[in-house]
């Protein structure tokens, strides 16, 4: 775009100047051709003048030759006459020659040339007639000669004079024509010149206006640029000042960083030791985890054994419960028998009592049987109690075995979970070991890096010093830039652009 604009501005200027040059050249060419034409016409006019002049002198010669021929009659003196004759002859020759020369010299005017040729013919005729006249004079026949003049020579002369006059008219007319042409050419030249001149002036004015505008625009832009330059240089100056302070801060920071690097190196060494000990402890933990896993596997096996045994216990308990029930039944029947025995004993006692003195021994027996049945009853009651206790215990055992089964299941689950946890733990420990290893190696790298940092910090220090120097130079350069902007501004103000 900018290029295009630049080209456009340049192209406009160049085109305008080319236009001016072309217009000037055209004007010059037109003027030159007009002048050429005028010159030519003027030449022709001078030629025509010379022809007129020649014609005038020819007429004078012709008149003089007529006067001479007429004087031949009047002259008495022969010698004088002879002399005049010779003179006349010479005159006639000269006239012929002059007409010939003129006729040959004429070019471009065919009419005039023809009229001159006609005059030559007329002159030759006239000379021939005069020769007749001269013969008459020589013979001394003056009257006849005079008569000849009146009859022959005078009409010829008149004819000649008329022809000359006619030619003169033609010449004058031609001259007038040429003069007119000349005036026209001049007017044309003046018109063209004024036209071209005005075009030139217009072009020049427009170019001037355009250039002035461009100049104003350029100067405005330059002024803006100078403003920006001034501002920018101010900004740059402040920035450089900041940079300068920044550079000093950088120097301080570099010193601090160097100290910090030393500290970090020490820390890295400590971290390395720690990582090493972490690695050792992770290895220990790893073996512990493996042991724990093995123990858990044993626990799982034990749990499974417990499960099997619990199932066995459960079956046994069920059997026990069944046997208990059967014992209960037996006990119940024993109790029933005891009851019946009791009743029988009572009845026996009743009978014995009725027997009176004879039944006394029987009473004792009945009492014994009764006691036995009571004992049996009590025993059955005790057995029943015991059976109840057993039943209760069995029920409790069943509940406990159920709970134990559940507990064993839960324990198995828990152990499996623990196993998983230990697995995860082992994995984590592996990762931790890897991490510790990586930490250790990165610590090594870190320490190596730290060793590299120290010279790098030195380099930074040097670079920052160079930087500070460069900033000083930049400051000076910016000041110069600033003053340059000021002087540019002054120049612009001075030229009032």
């Amino acid at each position: 775009m900018e290029k295009y604009l630049r080209f456009r501005a340049k192209g406009r200027i160049i085109t305008s100047f080319l236009l001016i040059i072309a217009t000037t050249v055209i004007t010059l060419l037109l003027a030159y051709s007009g002048i050429q034409k005028i010159n030519k016409t003027t030449q022709q006019l001078s030629l025509l003048d010379s022809y007129i002049y020649t014609l005038g002198s020819f007429r004078a010669d012709f008149n003089r030759s007529r006067a001479l021929s007429i004087s031949l009659i009047i002259e008495k003196d022969d010698s004088e006459r002879e002399k005049n004759k010779l003179l006349l002859k010479a005159e006639q020759e000269e006239m012929l020659q002059k007409i010939d020369e003129t006729e040959k010299a004429i070019s471009g005017f065919e009419q005039i040339k023809n009229s001159f040729a006609q005059k030559r013919d007329l002159l030759e005729n006239y000379i021939d007639a005069r020769r007749e006249y001269n013969n008459l004079v020589d013979l001394g026949a003056k009257d006849e000669a005079a008569e000849y003049i009146n009859t022959v020579l005078s009409p010829m002369y008149n004819e000649m004079r008329d022809a000359i006059l006619e030619t003169e008219d033609i010449l004058l007319q031609e001259k007038n024509n040429l003069t007119k042409l000349n005036t026209e050419s001049r007017n044309k030249i003046i018109f063209q010149a004024s036209l071209m001149g005005s075009i030139l002036i217009l072009l020049t004015i427009s170019i001037f206006i355009y250039l002035m505008g461009m100049l104003r625009k350029i100067s405005r832009e330059i002024r803006d640029g100078i403003e920006i330059l001034a501002n920018s240089s101010q900004d740059i100056l402040s920035t450089i000042t900041e940079m300068s302070t920044g550079a000093s801060e950088t120097a301080a920071s570099v010193s601090e960083t160097t100290a910090t690097v030393e500290e970090v190196r020490q820390t890295a060494a400590v971290a390395n030791k720690k990582a090493q000990s972490l690695l050792d402890s992770t290895n220990r933990v790893k073996s512990s985890a493996h042991q724990g896993q093995a123990s858990l596997n044993q626990v799982i096996e034990g749990m499974e054994r417990i499960d099997v045994q619990m199932k066995k216990i459960s079956g046994t308990v069920v059997k026990l419960s069944e046997q208990n029930r059967r014992i209960g039944e037996i006990t119940a029947s024993v109790a029933d028998i005891a009851d019946q025995s009791n009743l029988l004993a009572v009845n026996a006692a009743i009978e014995a009592a009725k027997a009176g003195e004879h039944g006394k021994g029987f009473t004792v027996v009945a009492q014994e049987i009764r006691n036995l049945s009571d004992q049996s009853k009590r025993a059955t009651l005790q057995v029943k109690e015991i059976l109840n206790e057993i039943e209760k215990s069995v029920n409790e055992t069943v509940g406990v075995t159920d709970e134990s089964k559940k507990t064993v299941e839960t324990g198995k689950d828990l152990v499996s979970q623990s196993n998983e946890v230990i697995d995860i733990l082992a994995g984590n420990i592996e990762e931790t070991a890897d991490a510790a290893m990586q930490i250790s190696s990165s610590n090594h790298q870190q320490m190596a890096g730290m060793d590299q940092i120290v010279p790098a910090m030195e380099n930074i220090k040097r670079a920052s010093e160079q930087n500070a120097e460069g900033i000083r130079q930049a400051q000076n350069a910016t000041r110069e830039l600033h003053s340059l902007g000021q002087s540019l501004k002054n120049i612009l103000q001075k030229f009032n652009l």
């Binding site: 009743l343 009743i350 009592a353 009764r370």
Partner: protein
Amino acid sequence: MEKEQILRHRAAENAMKEIDVMEAIAKPVEVLKFSLLNRLYAMDIKYVSEVSYIREITPIPGTPQFVAGVINLRGKIISAINIKTLFSLEERGLTEQNRLIVLKNNSNIIFGVICDAIGEITKMDLATLEEPPANFPSGLTRYISGIFPDNTILLNANKLTTSNEIIIKK
């Protein structure tokens, strides 16, 4: 002093009563003990024919409320009296645990009374028998001879077997 005198007098009176009872029934007696509602009762064994299970009891319509029904006892049909209803005691229904005491008097009146459990046959001294307290239900006191010191109530079997209330004859 006055109180002491009163107490002495009362003691003497009570001692006199005991002597009276001892004079009235002045010999040991063999009794069958049984229980009703956790209370021990006793009956003179002379009136007891036998004791038995209650295998099956058949209710008889149109009988008094205390007659629980009839029982087949080795081919003999005897009526069973619910003594609790008769004595207006708390009724708890009959179970297999209940026993029947078959009573028999001199005039061959045979019937059974239902008790909760049969106790022992023992000799009791009638001299230790006491009068039943006045607050005993009248339905009970009618058939009570007295109370032994061990709180066993002695039933009057003779009265029971001869009672018009129980023995209904045309």
